[in-house]
Structures are given as C-alpha cells and as structure tokens.
Symmetry: C2
Subunit: 327 residues, 2 copies
C-alpha cells in the first residue's frame, strides 16, 4: 500500500530512471532524484516532455505537477529518509553494489531497495549488503511511463514481506508486477527478446530480409496478436477446440526440423554492425530518435485506449486508473 | 491489379483457407471453394461468423455478401477457369504436390498457384510441376481476415511477372505483402516465432514462470511495442541519439553472456506436454476457443482502429481501405 511508502528516491536518471520518475510524477508522488550528471544533460527533461504529451491524450482531465521532484548530484541527501529507493544505474554489478553500499550508509534497514537491472540476479546484487532482505529486482520496460509490466524477482536472501509491499505499491501506480518463481539471468522478457534478437541477426546476416522487412513482418503480423494475448494463449486460440494439448501434439515436433539449426550466435563483427546500422538508417527515413519516441508513445497511448474499450489486457489497467481518477 | 485476376479458387477451407475466403468475400470477390469435408463440418462457417462480427465494427457501413462463394467436394470444377488458386491444404509436401498436379490438369498455364505453407520452400513445392514458374508461397497469418501480413516467396523457377501480379492483387485486398529476397524453411515470421517458442518452452519446463505469467509478460510488455514497431525500429528508438550503431556496440556483446546457453531444444515428452496443457487450461479460465477467438478479433479490430488514428503501421491499411470504400 502506498501509505507505507511515502518517501521515494530514484538513483539514476537515464532512460529507465527517468521513466520511473515520470511514472511516479503522473501518480502524484514526489520524487527525490540522484544523478551524477547535471540535470540539463540527463534524459529526464526529454522524458518528462514525452510524458506530458502522452498523458494529455491518455488522461486529458488529470492535473499533473511535472515539477514535483528534487534533483541532487550527491547521493546521501537524495536517499536519506527514503522508504523506497529505485536504482537505475548502468548494468554493472560493481557500480550497483557501490550504490547499495552508499544507500545502506544513510537509510533505515527497512528501506526497500529495488533494482531496475535487466539481467543481473538479485542474489548477486545483494551479496555484500548489510541488510540484503530488502533488496529485489523490479525490471521495468521502456517507456516506463506507458508500459505497465514490471518483472519482480527476489534473491535467496530477499524476504517476502518486502516483496509484498513492493508489489502492492506497483499495483497502486497502475503497473503490472509479475513475480517470478525463480531467479534466472535476464529474467523472462529479456530471454524472449534475446531469442528473437539472435534469430533476427541471422536473418539479416544471411540476407533473407532487411531490417525494414523484418520489422514489417512483426508489426503487420504477430505483433498485433502479442499486444493482447501472449505466446500460449495465442496458440491455444489458433488450435481449434482440441486446445493446447492438440496444438502441442501437432506442432511440438516442428522444433526438431532443420530450421532449428541456427541456434548459434552470429559473430558480432564490424561487417554485421555496418549491415544492420545502414539498413536501420534507411528504414528510419530521416526521423530522429526523438521523433520516433513521440510516434511510439502516441501509438502506445492509442493501443492501450483501444484495449481499454474491450477492458482487456493492458487496457484493463488504463480503465482502472481512469475510474480511480474520478473524484 | 485485380482486373487481371477475376476468378479465384481456394483449395482447402481449414482455419487458414477459411480465413483467405473471408478476406476475399469482404473485398467483394466471388470465391470457388474446394474441400473434401462437407461444408457443415469445415471451419468456414465459424470463420465467416467471426468475420461478420469483426467487420460490423471495423467497417460498419460496408455491405458484404458473405454467401458469395460456391462450395465443391471435387477439385476440378472448383479450380477450372481460375486466374488464381490459393492452396491451404495440410503441411505435407506430398499432399500439396498432389493438389498442384490436379490443378495443372485443368487450369491454364497462366493460372497463379499460391501456397499458404508456413514452412516448405517453394523450390520444393514446384519441383514436379509442368509449369512451375507460376507457383509461389503466399504465407498469411491467422486470422487472415484481420491480420494483413503475407510473406511472399518465390522458388528458383518462379517468374517475376507472376510474383508482381500477385503482390498487386494482395495490395488490392488491403493486405501487406512482404517479398523475401531468399528462400528459407519457415521463412521469417515463423523463424522468429520458433525462437520465442523454444525459449518459452524452456522457461516453463524450468519452472521460471507459468504460461499465464509468460503471456502477461508479453502482452503487458514488449507486445505493446511490437504491434506498431518491429525489432530493429524499437531498439533504434530506445538507443538515444547514438542510433542503431550505438545500440549494437552497447548490446551486441550480451549475446555471449551465460543466458544464451539454453539454445538447445527441450525434449518434447509427455511430462512437458502435460505441464503446458494444464497451465494453459487454468489460464483460459473456462473460455472456449470460440470465445477466445471472438475476444482476439475484437481486440485486433480496436488495435488496428487505434493505429488508424495515427495513420501508422497496420492502421494505414485500414485507413486506405476506408477511404477506398467512400463512393
């Protein structure tokens, strides 16, 4: 419940950290921010602008104070008194461990420390901590202010009461926490994304298609299904009344057909980097990353409003948030 | 152009064949259908009902004659005089080759033969044909009446003029044909889907998450991105102004981290089939496949209408179709 988590600090304000900050601000939560970089040079300014545009469309009547944060270039004043610290510093174990050490020096042992890591196991993160039981992974997705998913993963020393409190909090800010049963490097989403990425690299490297063609194949094809149902429910739906069992018995053996031979990782050399970068430049057709971000956000807003009409999937959360906003 | 393709026959009216038929009917094209099964027992009736509901919402003012087809239990009368035959029989090379033989016996050598295969190379399909130059793969996606993507693949003997004519035709029925440069088993979409599937099986087998959790991770997370942008454009957008090159240099090496170890195929035994089927049953929560199909279609309609608002991706095709419909 939010009542137990009043003071929130965000350590790191790159793309992911700034996304967390924006997600908190739109939920009328004051944030203390720590980043080494001067405010003007962080991603935070841009992310807040993007969030403003998106929320004007998503919740037109909602009054949001986008200046409801304090920005620090020192970590101690930014995290002292925090009930929750969200860490989004670079993906290196040593950097993260150093940050946790500093947090533990000034915070109570009941302060929840939530790491945005997309790959490092919580057991490794908490290894050197004084009070490891309050450390967990809460892995969000870019853009954090519009994508609801958070993978929640505890390490061997994490205690259930802290996880429960954090999950309640994530629900209260209209996110979708999924608690994983077991630790695994890269968790679930990035395992799936890695698998697609690996296969995509082969398809480009072997000249089967271009980056633009591959992207079109995703967004005019199965991407439209994945926005509402996932892997298993989609196949169940396609299976006919025989259901999942029939589908598995029918399609399972496909996995040993010859096209599973490309499970190797292609060599990541300059030639491959050039090939992909050049195709991607052509595909972007002159749009800057900022412009692409705005397009993406406009679409994310409309897609979620569309799902809201059917009260389904991510649209359910939007519907709930809208109902909550009614005074 | 449609003017060169007037007479169209569909061979096979299972889920995919019926989807093609529905896609043609909503485009006011008369279809001759061949299937061994009596009409009442095919998927066609159900698919037409689903299409009716979906199009009532998608194009409320469009008058569609859903009875504009003839149904045959013999192949010859169904395909004679056809300018285009769309084949959607079971995924076995011998069955498909037998069908092509029968088609060649009664059709002109200029009749285009388009196979819905999701995996077999066109060069293999056309091997024994009299006039192989008009055989190509046009791989659509379920539900064909709502998902616009078609992978178009020619074999070594396929001639460009037939491919061009077919692509023009697919565009005219508001689909999104993507012509692949090279043949490869399973083409592009199913290579990507196989990669996700393989990884998903491991995640369930190893007890990292349940089928419901995995699906939620997809549909509350990257699925919302894939409905509008694909793999490469999404990463480009996330990369910051350094663009794709920076992204590749930063993330490329991840591929050799330990989580790429699970590239093997899990053994497909009864234990795994039970595990997945049982979890999937729980997840479906009593909804029948027909009910799931209707939910899927309602969402596909709303998502594409949402993208239409921004004139983006699959929404562009809907917008174009709507404009075309204005008298």
């Amino acid at each position: 419940m939010r009542k137990e988590i009043n003071n929130i600090s965000c350590v790191g304000s790159g793309t992911i950290g700034a996304g967390w900050i924006a997600r908190l601000l739109v939920n009328k939560i004051k944030v203390k921010v720590y980043d080494l970089t001067p405010f003007q040079e962080t991603r935070l300014k841009i992310v807040i602008e993007n969030t403003k545009s998106a929320y004007k469309n998503l919740f037109p009547n909602k009054k949001i104070n986008f200046e409801n944060f304090e920005y620090y270039n020192e970590i101690s004043p930014a995290v002292e008194n925090a009930d929750l610290v969200i860490e989004s510093v670079p993906e290196r174990l040593d950097i993260k461990q150093e940050v946790f050490k500093k947090i533990e020096e000034v915070c109570s042992k009941r302060t929840i420390i939530a790491s945005s890591t997309s790959g490092i196991k919580p057991t490794d993160l908490q290894k050197n901590m004084q009070n490891p039981e309050r450390l967990m992974v809460t892995h969000p997705f870019n853009p954090v202010y519009l994508i609801p998913l958070v993978e929640v993963v505890g390490g061997t020393k994490t205690k259930g009461n802290f996880i429960k409190k954090m999950i309640d909090f994530l629900n209260s800010i209209d996110m979708k926490p999924i608690l994983l049963e077991k630790e695994i490097e890269a968790f679930v989403a990035d395992r799936l994304l890695e698998a697609i990425w690996r296969e995509s690299l082969w398809l480009i490297k072997d000249g089967i298609c271009t980056t633009k063609q591959l992207d079109d194949i995703v967004r005019y094809g199965f991407g439209l299904r994945y926005a509402q149902m996932g892997v298993f429910q989609t196949y169940r739906t396609a299976a006919g009344e025989g259901g999942m069992r029939q589908f598995l018995e029918h399609f399972g053996p496909c996995l040993s057909l010859p096209w599973t031979k490309l499970m190797d990782v292609p060599e990541f050399n300059n030639e491959l980097i050039d090939l992909i970068s050049n195709q991607s430049d052509t595909q972007a057709n002159g749009l800057s990353v900022t412009e692409l971000e705005q397009i993406r956000d406009k679409n994310l807003v409309e897609i979620q409003k569309a799902l809201e009409k059917n009260n389904y999937g991510a649209g359910k959360l939007i519907k709930k948030a809208r109902e909550k906003a009614i005074p």
